[in-house]
Assembly symmetry: C2
């Protein structure tokens, strides 16, 4: 029996996607080879890359100003690679301190340029998203659209006069976006659209400097991958294939409007229970709650442990909060079935305490 899987990432995918991915691994379309056993330069594979590009452009309604890149290295690499590509060493880059991933981002960017925090919610344990109106001369504003550990999410993006660069690993492809506000968006696949090993990077070519006084290594230069359609080197072919299956799935469901409706429906079920249940409490300001990661605690660490044991005994896995946060984190990305959320809520309504 398939568990109700709330792991924060790598996270659950629709079972039909998993099954099709497994079939393609054994024998791709009856061709007698695995999709993972063919050259990244064979037409079979390059057609899949083209289809993935087309689907991302369709889902986000991207103009030709945008390049869609498939890169290895994870969003963690992009925290370094994006400032390398977008700034001169003397440039300022503004950040909003929303928690763990904002901290990782500023640490990486500070190695490349003058990175600084405009505002922080650290004093309230990252329970909210600070509001930003001015970027104090920065070249761009880096935002973590969804703080996957802290459980906060931007529901409206800042109105500023520079492009946003967004780490969107934990909510990519989960809702329509005001693309005109963004310069670069990157997201690892393993939460909302695939397995770990591939990162989708959207680059607005209008904000990418043509030249850079720093010597950007060719392998980390966006121009390289734009010119070679992501095939400058051997990309992680199988993770790209699984991402394509997820893109087809999302498109078939009705696109990003429908993914947003489903996320709101799933998260409302959980948050309603958190607010109703006297044993539970949410840890994020209501207006900034994430529809991807619902974080909550009970009355005590001891009670948390009892609840976790009860949930595990009832086929829930991966719902423990991040070690430094404690409590619970129900991760409900694109691949999370409504039925699993309903099962979780049912258990929370019947805690044996």
């Amino acid at each position: 029996m398939r568990k109700h899987n709330f792991f924060p990432g790598p996270a659950t995918l629709p079972f039909e996607v998993i099954q099709e991915a497994a079939a393609g691994l054994v024998d791709y379309n009856g061709m007698g080879v695995s999709i993972a056993e063919i050259s990244h330069r064979s037409p079979i594979f390059t057609d899949l890359v083209d289809e993935a590009n087309t689907l991302v452009k369709k889902l986000y309604d991207l103009s030709d100003d945008w390049a869609v890149l498939w890169l290895p290295g994870g969003a963690s690499s992009q925290l370094t690679v994006a400032p390398m590509n977008l700034t001169e060493p003397s440039d300022k880059i503004a950040f909003v301190d929303t928690g763990f991933w904002a901290d990782r981002a500023i640490e990486a960017a500070a190695n490349e340029a003058n990175a600084f925090f405009l505002a922080s919610s650290k004093d309230t344990n990252y329970d909210r998203i600070p509001k930003i109106t001015d970027v104090q001369g920065a070249r761009y504003l880096h935002v973590v659209s969804n703080e996957t550990i802290d459980g906060t999410q931007y529901h409206a993006f800042p109105d500023v006069d520079v492009p946003l660069v967004a780490d969107m690993t934990s909510d990519f492809l989960s809702r329509p976006l005001p693309m005109e506000k963004f310069g670069v968006i990157f997201a690892s696949a393993q939460k909302n659209f695939g397995i770990a090993g591939i990162t989708c990077v959207l680059v607005n070519k209008a904000v990418l400097p043509e030249k850079n006084s720093r010597k950007v290594p060719k392998i980390f230069d966006y121009h390289t991958h734009i010119a070679e359609n992501s095939l400058y080197h051997t990309i992680p072919t199988y993770p790209v294939y699984v991402a394509l299956l997820m893109l087809r799935y999302i498109d078939k469901q009705g696109g990003l409007v429908e993914m947003q409706r489903l996320s709101q429906q799933k998260s409302a079920l959980i948050y309603n229970e958190i607010d109703r249940n006297p044993l539970l409490k949410g840890i994020v300001a209501t207006e900034d709650r994430s529809v991807m990661n619902a974080c909550f605690t009970s009355q005590s660490t001891e009670m948390d442990q009892k609840i976790n044991l009860f949930l595990e005994q009832n086929d829930i896995v991966g719902i423990k909060g991040f070690p430094t946060k404690g409590g619970f984190r129900a991760s409900i990305y694109n691949g999370q079935p409504l039925a699993s959320v309903a099962h979780l809520v049912d258990l929370l309504q019947n805690l044996p305490l």
Copy 2:
């Protein structure tokens, strides 16, 4: 029916490995979750990383001086990351110009330090490996242990007084190595030990400088990944899992001595036919022929096309040479069954010309 797959990479894997990988994708060990759907920090997965480290150390008989790292980005990233970690910008790095991958390597390293070629076989179209005895003051000597496009391979590594840094993507885990000669070895998985998306990096900690005047980005700093046992960020979990399955397979076969015996057996079958068949000719000096990629041509481009068509009609795929080289390249890595090589040789012995 499964094809006889000679793709140069991503390349064929033993079918039992593919089948086990597919089973683990659908339901890992009857646990009700996919191996690709669980956190990289869950004990289930960290145990697999530990096992993979142990197997690599066992297979190469590595001392505790060595760290085994699992990194994303491919060997192409390591061409930049290795010099970043190992040199000061003023250091010299020596290269041997053995072909395509040596050229990529020196281009990447020249961005980081003073990279130069000691010798080249360009004048003879990379048909041999130049012999090296002195490194002219370089910090290290970079070698491409097997030039996968050109079909050459080091059968003895240079005796020099500095460490070798080896791009071993196309012959990693295919033979025992004189580890005392090496400082760093890296290899992408998709030829000899897995699917695309993960790179195994072996670092002799004794040759890794503790400090570096350049500001190595934390995500590209070997120290980061040594300290965190490759789990500083979300690594490509499923590619690591497939690599582990291949490590188990190699170990079960009898380790690297047996993989070397099999490679020699498979390559001898092909090279004997190339040398015997008056229609075919090898393009590499006999003593430097690769046991991983056997490159050959026929009498003309036209005859190449006829032969390729005949091979494809008889269930051979992926045997065309690299576009700039032409002819044929039979890739016979660890996952290539002897039966497929025998089938190829049988067809070459019965060309309808």
